[in-house]
C-alpha cells in the first residue's frame, strides 16, 4: 500500500445523519473529503479524472441508497465502504473495456461489497428504465406526472398551469398519462 491521503472529514455518524436529512452541506463535505481518494485509485490504475468522477459519484449513489433504505450498519468505516465500492466499480469497468490490470495498486483497506453492488445494479437498471419511459412519455404527460407525483402539486395548480377548463379534464389527462407511464415502465 502506498501513502494514504489524509482526510480530516466529518465524522461518519454525522454523514449518515446528513444523508438521511438530505443535507447539501454534508454532501459537499463528503464529496470534498473522499473524492481525492477515489481519484488516486483510478489515476493509478489506468483511468483518468473523468473515470474517477463517474466511479465516485456512482459510489455515493450506492451509499445514499444503502443509508436511506436503512441497512447501513456502521461496522466498517464509511471511508472503507466508499473505497471498496469505487474499487469494485472501477475494476468492473476496466473489465468491460477488456482492459485488465495485472495487479491493482491499492491505497486503502477494503471489504467485500458484492451484495451492495448487486442491489445497486438492480436499482440502476430500474433507474434506466424509468429514464427511458419518461423520455418516451412525451409532453404534456411528462410535466403533469412530474408536477403531481414529484413536486406534489395539487390538481388545481396543474389545471391552471395547463389551461384545462375544469378539474375533471385535468384528472382524465393525469390518468391517461399515468396509464401510459405504467405501460412503458412495467413492460420494458
Amino acid at each position: 500500500m502506498k501513502k494514504e491521503i489524509k482526510s480530516s472529514g466529518p465524522a461518519d455518524s454525522e454523514i449518515i445523519l446528513g444523508i438521511l436529512n438530505d443535507s447539501k452541506e454534508i454532501l459537499n463535505r463528503l464529496y470534498v473529503t473522499y473524492f481525492p481518494m477515489v481519484l488516486q485509485l483510478v489515476l493509478n490504475n489506468s483511468g483518468n479524472e473523468d473515470d474517477a468522477k463517474d466511479v465516485f459519484q456512482e459510489s455515493v449513489i450506492v451509499l445514499y441508497n444503502k443509508v436511506k433504505s436503512g441497512n447501513f450498519e456502521l461496522n466498517s468505516k464509511l471511508k472503507t465502504f466508499i473505497y471498496s465500492v469505487s474499487r469494485r466499480l472501477w475494476l468492473k469497468r476496466l473489465n468491460a473495456q477488456s482492459k485488465t490490470l495485472r495487479n491493482i495498486e491499492d491505497f486503502s483497506e477494503f471489504i467485500p461489497v458484492e451484495d451492495d453492488l448487486e442491489r445497486h445494479e438492480e436499482k440502476d437498471r430500474q433507474f434506466r428504465v424509468m429514464e427511458l419511459a419518461l423520455n418516451q412519455l412525451g409532453e404534456p404527460c411528462k410535466t403533469i406526472i412530474e408536477d403531481y407525483y414529484l413536486q406534489s402539486k395539487s390538481m388545481q395548480e396543474i389545471c391552471e398551469k395547463f389551461g384545462y377548463t375544469n378539474a375533471d379534464n385535468a384528472k382524465t389527462q393525469k390518468y391517461k398519462c399515468l396509464q401510459r407511464l405504467k405501460k412503458l415502465f412495467f413492460q420494458a
Binding site: F127, I145, Y149, F186
Partner: protein, 364 residues
C-alpha cells in the same frame, strides 16, 4: 368502465398522498382486502410512484454532485495523487540536489573566470538569447564525451540536431504560429499537443523581420480543434498589466506568470514588449496572454544577464503577418477567431481551456 377507472386511480393517488379522511381510509383498506384485483392495482401504482421518486432523487443527487465537482481544483488534486513518475524522473528527483550543487559550483567557477577576464563588459550586444531548445543537447554532450574517450577525429555532428519551441493555434483548422528562429532551417516539422500526439506540419509563411512563422498541420490524423478560446489584441497593452504564457521548456506544458514591464523590447525595439516572466529555452513561440485571455504577444527571447527580462513580439505584428499571407495560396481558409471565451475565468480554468491549443514545435 373508463370513468370508474379514473376515479379509482384518483382515489389511490389520494390515499398514497395521505389526503383521505380516517373513515375514507378505513373504507379503502376494507376494499383492498375484499377485492384482490383492486389491491394489485394499489400495489402497482404505489410501486410506480416509488420508482418515480427514486428516479427523481437520483437525478437531484447527481446534479448536486456535479455542481460540487465543478468547484474542485482537479488540477491541484491530480498533482497530489498522480501516479509515481517513471524511473528517469524519479532519479532526477533523487539526484537533483546533487546536480544542483554541481551546477552551482560550475556556475560560480565559470562566472568568476568571466568576471575576472572582463567578459561581461564586452558582450552587451549579444545579450539576448533566443529561446529555442536543443532537445538532443544532453545526448550530444554524451556523444562528445564518448568521442573524446575513443580519441577519434571530430568530424562534427552527423545529425543536424533536434530543436524545440512552442507554437499555438491561429485557427481551428490547423494553422499554427511560432517564431521564425524556432523553425529556421528545418528539414521537417512536427507539432505535438498536450496529449503527446504529434502531427506533421509544413511551413507556409515566414516573416524573419518580426521573427514569425506560420505552420499548417498537414497530418491526415489531425482533426479540427474546437473553436479557439482566445482573440488577438489589436491595440498595445499597458505596462504593469498581468500576463501569462504557456510553453514547452520541457516535454510538458509549463505555465508562467508575470507582468508587462516595458512597452518596448531590447534596446528600444518597438516590435516587442519586455515582459517580466520566467521563460527558458523552449518557451519561444508561446502565446502571451492578458487577464482577459487576449493574445497580446508571442514569446521570442530573453536577456541573458538580466533575470526575468523576456521579450514578446506584439500581437499586432502577428495580425500583420497573417494579413500578408496571400489567402488564395492556402489550402484552407485561415480565419482568426473573434470570440473570446476565456475572460472572467479563473487562471486555472483559462489554462485548462488553452491546453489543447498550445503545441510543442519539433524541428528536425
Amino acid at each position: 368502465m373508463m370513468k370508474s377507472d379514473i376515479e379509482l386511480t384518483n382515489q389511490i393517488d389520494a390515499y398514497l398522498r395521505g389526503e383521505l379522511t380516517d373513515s375514507e381510509i378505513a373504507d379503502f383498506e376494507k376494499k383492498r382486502v375484499e377485492d384482490p384485483a383492486f389491491d394489485i392495482k394499489v400495489v402497482e401504482q404505489q410501486n410506480l410512484v416509488l420508482h418515480l421518486t427514486d428516479y427523481a432523487d437520483r437525478m437531484k443527487l447527481s446534479s448536486e454532485m456535479n455542481a460540487i465537482h465543478e468547484t474542485l481544483d482537479i488540477y491541484d488534486l491530480k498533482n497530489q495523487v498522480a501516479p509515481e513518475a517513471p524511473l528517469i524522473r524519479r532519479m532526477w528527483k533523487k539526484y537533483r540536489i546533487n546536480t544542483a550543487i554541481a551546477a552551482t559550483v560550475a556556475l560560480i567557477a565559470v562566472s568568476g573566470t568571466l568576471l575576472s577576464t572582463g567578459y561581461f563588459s564586452k558582450t552587451i550586444s549579444t545579450n539576448v538569447s533566443l529561446l529555442r531548445r536543443e532537445i538532443n543537447s544532453i545526448k550530444k554532450s554524451q556523444n562528445a564525451l564518448i568521442k573524446n574517450i575513443n580519441d577519434k577525429p571530430n568530424k562534427g555532428p552527423v545529425n543536424p540536431g533536434q530543436f524545440g519551441g512552442t507554437g499555438f493555434a491561429l485557427s481551428s483548422n490547423g494553422y499554427v504560429v511560432t517564431n521564425y528562429h524556432v523553425v529556421q532551417g528545418a528539414d521537417s516539422l512536427y507539432v505535438q499537443n498536450s496529449e503527446g500526439e504529434a502531427f506533421k506540419a509544413k511551413m507556409i509563411y515566414i516573416d524573419p523581420t518580426y521573427d514569425l512563422a506560420v505552420l499548417q498541420i498537414t497530418d491526415p490524423a489531425f482533426k479540427d480543434l474546437d473553436i479557439l478560446p482566445y482573440t488577438f489584441k489589436k491595440t498595445v497593452s499597458d505596462v504593469g498589466e498581468d500576463v501569462f504564457t504557456i510553453g514547452f521548456p520541457r516535454d510538458d506544458q509549463v505555465f508562467g506568470k508575470g507582468y508587462l514591464s516595458s512597452k518596448n523590447g531590447y534596446a528600444g525595439d518597438t516590435v516587442a514588449y519586455q515582459v517580466s516572466i520566467p521563460v527558458n529555452p523552449g518557451n519561444s513561440g508561446g502565446p502571451l496572454l492578458d487577464n482577459r485571455g487576449n493574445i497580446i504577444g508571442i514569446i521570442n527571447g530573453k536577456q541573458t544577464q538580466v533575470d526575468g527580462a523576456a521579450f514578446a513580439i506584439k500581437s499586432t505584428y502577428i495580425l500583420k503577418s497573417i494579413e500578408a499571407i496571400p489567402q488564395d495560396s492556402l489550402d484552407e481558409k485561415l480565419i482568426i477567431s473573434k470570440r473570446n471565451s476565456l475572460s472572467g475565468l479563473s487562471r486555472k480554468d483559462q489554462f485548462k481551456k488553452l491546453e489543447p491549443f498550445v503545441y510543442m514545435v519539433k524541428v528536425y
